[in-house]
């Protein structure tokens, strides 16, 4: 199942790494450098799934997740958090914000691809 996926990460290098993994499964990839840019991208492009970093200079990934869940259009959009943050307390904040899943960096490309497929398959 190929899909259109929005990658939100302040690092161009990390976006390229994620893009490379996803394009191997023939997904189309849209990029944004922070939460604000992601909201703008979602206003003009229909995406099937969002992968977001947490720590970003402008609107962070959890604030972005909350904004999307407050918008009826994005209530069931799968949102995967991809972050170096690994403590149970931060993960709990991710769950409370409405994230679908949490992937801890460093990620294995195959794990990322499998997790994306699972999130797409379980989509409401």
């Amino acid at each position: 199942m190929s899909a259109t996926i929005l990658i939100v990460d302040d690092s161009a290098t990390m976006r390229a790494l994620v893009r490379r993994a996803l394009e191997a499964d023939a997904h189309a990839v849209v990029e944004a450098a922070h939460g604000g840019a992601a909201l703008a991208a979602l206003g003009s492009t229909t995406v099937d799934l969002v992968i977001t970093d947490v720590l970003m200079p402008e609107m962070d990934g959890l604030a972005l997740t909350r904004r999307l869940r407050d918008d009826a259009r994005f209530r069931s959009l799968p949102i995967l958090v991809l972050t170096t943050e690994a403590t149970p307390a931060v993960k709990e904040r991710g769950r409370a914000a409405g994230a679908t899943g949490w992937i801890v960096k460093p990620f294995h490309p195959d794990t990322l691809r499998r997790t994306v497929q699972q999130a797409l398959a379980e989509r409401a």
């Binding site: 161009a12 290098t13 972050t83 769950r95 409370a96 679908t100 899943g101």
Partner: protein
């Protein structure tokens, strides 16, 4: 004079601090990047072994590797209120210590090539470097002032020990993060 706390960084390590500390590390072919935000006086350093892709091929990526080491360092700096727009960037290491066998010989060069490419892609300008050559370096980064002291290790024993340690690290398997699915939706 009050001596600030010293933190010793090993391969794969990342440390950032808003307190005045000295972050120390020992580099052979490895690379360490120091980031400093002069406005909020936050400084951080990483220490990585390989640019990306380990002994098990290009799929074998982990914190020890440059991309993730840089990602973690920038993340830790952001958490402490630093801003990438103000980063003062210094790069150290990438020495060809002793005779490195086979493909390992290319590691120092690859590390430096990676870090230059990474910093250019992220729009980060390098303020100072001490890279290349054949001698290992001891680095001391003072997070209060952003200053870095570099000392070259000239004794053959210290060089041999460091080269062996780095070779062992290169052979080690990469560790990856885990995945959690949240069931039951938003709290």
């Amino acid at each position: 004079m009050i001596h600030p706390t010293e933190i010793l960084l090993h391969v794969g390590g990342v440390h950032a601090s808003a307190e005045p500390v000295v972050i120390k590390t020992l580099l052979g072919s490895c690379v360490a990047v120091c980031l400093w935000d002069p406005r909020v006086l936050v400084g951080g350093m990483n220490h990585f072994l390989l640019p990306e892709g380990g002994p098990n091929g290009p799929q074998d990526e982990a914190t020890r590797f440059g991309v993730h080491a840089m990602d973690r360092l920038v993340g830790e700096m952001l958490k402490l209120g630093a801003s990438p727009a103000r980063f003062v960037v210094k790069v150290f290491g990438g020495a060809s210590v002793l005779a490195m066998p086979g493909p390992a010989a290319a590691v120092p060069h690859k590390n430096l090539e990676f870090v230059r490419g990474y910093l250019a892609r992220e729009g980060l300008r390098v303020a100072a470097t001490s890279v290349g050559g054949t001698l290992p370096r001891q680095i001391q980064f003072f997070t209060a002032s952003g200053k870095v002291l570099v000392r070259r290790l000239v004794t053959p024993r210290a060089q041999a020990r460091l080269a062996e340690e780095e070779a062992a690290q290169r052979r080690a398997r990469a560790r990856f993060g885990d995945v959690t699915f949240f069931r039951g939706g938003r709290a």
